[in-house]
């Protein structure tokens, strides 16, 4: 190596060293994975509680029954319900406060949601990680934690500006895992059922992924003037909160963000952030819907890019996401197949995409905030059509579906740690190849508004 090259390498090294220390705790990667140098507590107790009421105004389907998305989750047994949907408590800090270079993060869920409802669990660990900050420019985080990815999933949920996720995040990214024994009751993949005896809808037996995985991540943030550039590379089991690596393959996660920082700090720091991410893995799935466990391996790939602009009183953000393989096609479809009897409706090898565009206005000199969001999710975009020889009513048709939602929300900040969210979502869901009332539209036609109110308190 010549002298100039050596100098360049040294300069980059020094630059990284300088940047790494200057950009401490400035974004989700840093806020969740690190502690403030020289200032963190040995064990800071923290958490939050969210209490909500939701009311779905969708009408019954042609069979006079209700199935998701007309029912309130996670229990899926009514169209309106109060719920303690999140109640999380945890500790974080630096066990040995004299050493800034090691910190930990622990959080457990006591609320009633997709994390705890499957298997009727009362509590579930959602985060348990240790971060080593010894290598400049390459911090190492190991354990169970949020994977680097889409903004809606990666952000701290207690500062999320809406109550319900967008459909694209809910269906494409909030992973439902194949049942471990692959033994499905044939009656589960059934026709719509009516209230008040809705059994068999929730066919998945393990917790949703909750945008988390167990593994190891290398990450850091570099500050250049008013810009912060962050990266993360993670290698994990690909099994969400469920531990173990039953499929024998590991998932890879990549993430990059660049943010022009305007000011402020923490979860509501103001700036213009642009980001891109990608995830790749495999899943073992038994699609045969019988009592014999004969799973096969399927790819699961996800990627996206987006931006978030926040400078009070305005906020605008958007994100495009796409996925291939292991496409969720219904809470009662643990086989990831809408209709095993036909070639179409195949989620295990299907494709999907979607995006959201949303904005907020913080009403000056008030505690109110108004939010508006549009999101669309296109599911099974390359679905196999019914063959030409099929009955005319179905020939050439696919199970591609289109989910559009407009959400109008308002937030009232009682104090810095307590707020009320209110929102109404107007939903237009349809199977694009089918006439009104026909095929999947027999159920989707009736999907309409959902009202929700939620009280959040952080401690």
């Amino acid at each position: 190596m010549n002298h100039k090259k050596k100098l360049l390498v040294k300069a980059i090294g020094v630059g990284l060293l300088t940047c790494a220390s200057a950009a401490q705790a400035a974004n989700w990667l840093m806020l969740q994975g690190t502690e403030k140098d020289g200032q963190s507590a040995r064990a800071k107790l923290w958490g939050f509680v969210q209490v909500q009421y939701q009311n779905d105004r969708s009408s019954a389907n042609s069979g006079d029954g209700y199935i998701p998305p007309k029912l309130i989750g996670p229990n899926l047994n009514s169209q309106s319900a109060f719920n303690v949907n999140r109640a999380r408590i945890g500790v974080r800090g630096t066990g040995f406060p004299l050493d800034n270079k090691v910190n930990y993060f622990f959080l457990a869920e006591f609320g009633n949601n997709g994390i705890t409802a499957p298997g009727d669990r009362n509590v579930r660990i959602t985060d348990a990680s240790i971060t080593l900050n010894h290598i400049p420019g390459a911090r190492v985080r190991a354990g169970l934690f949020k994977t680097p990815g889409a903004e809606e999933g990666l952000q701290a949920i207690h500062v999320f500006d809406y109550i319900n996720f967008t459909t694209v995040t809910n269906q494409l990214l909030l992973e439902r895992f194949p049942n471990s024994n692959g033994s499905y009751d044939a009656a589960i993949n059934n026709a719509p059922i009516g209230l008040p005896s809705p059994t068999g809808i929730g066919a998945f037996d393990s917790s949703v992924g909750a945008f988390r995985d167990t593994g190891i991540q290398v990450f850091d943030t570099f500050k250049v003037d008013n810009w912060e550039h962050s990266y993360a590379v993670m290698y994990g089991n690909g099994n969400g909160l469920n531990f173990g690596n039953g499929d024998g393959h590991y998932d890879t996660y990549l993430y990059w963000s660049s943010e022009l920082v305007f000011g402020g700090k923490g979860g509501r720091r103001q700036g213009l952030k642009m980001f891109a991410w990608g995830q790749s893995g495999k899943r073992l799935l038994d699609t045969t819907n019988d009592t014999t466990y004969n799973p096969e391996s399927y790819d699961r790939d996800r990627s996206g890019l987006g931006f978030k602009y926040l400078q009070k009183p305005f906020r605008v953000s958007a994100e495009y996401m796409q996925g291939k393989g292991m496409i969720f096609v219904g809470q009662d479809k643990a086989t990831f197949d809408i209709n095993p009897a036909v070639a179409g409706g195949n989620g295990e090898e299907g494709k999907a995409n979607g995006y959201y565009l949303e904005g907020g206005w913080y009403i000056p000199n008030s505690k109110w905030e108004i939010d508006l969001r549009y999101d669309i999710y296109n599911r099974l975009t390359d679905d196999t059509p019914f063959p030409a020889g099929a009955p005319p009513a179905v020939a050439g048709k696919t199970f591609e579906m289109n989910f559009q939602t407009i959400t109008l929300g308002a937030q009232y900040h009682i104090n810095k740690k307590t707020r009320i969210n209110m929102e109404v979502s107007d939903r237009t869901f349809e199977a694009v190849d089918w006439d009104s009332g026909a095929g999947p539209n027999a159920n989707l036609d009736g999907v309409s508004q959902r009202y929700a109110i939620q009280l959040t308190h952080v401690f």
Partner: protein
Amino acid sequence: MKKLISMFLLLIAASLSYQVQAGDFAEEKIVLQISDPNPFKQTLVLNVASNLVKFYGQDKVEVEIVAFGPGLRLLFEENVNSGRINGLASSGVKFAACKNTIKAMTKKLGHAPELHSSAVPVSAGVVRIIDLENKGYKLIKP
């Protein structure tokens, strides 16, 4: 003889100069103690120092922050508040780091903690506070 008188006058002048630098003309002299592990106390003690400088003016107040025990973490080189410490130091605020604490932390860490460049080691934090009180400083423990 003239040389002796000149040297004597120079000594007096140097002595006066030192005393002026030490802040004898300050209207208020405050020593702030930080010995607590609570992270919020770090922010608080810096806020208090900043407010004192703003209220009295840089030339009319002497502020020294004495850190010892778990509070010494405030003066660690990588402390998240190092930028604020730089700013306060340029406004005349002094920072004293207890040598006894440094010694104890060196034992636990296996190496000496790296301190902020504005931190001046003193033999013992508590003795430094007593010395300053004897010089007319008022002790405040935020």
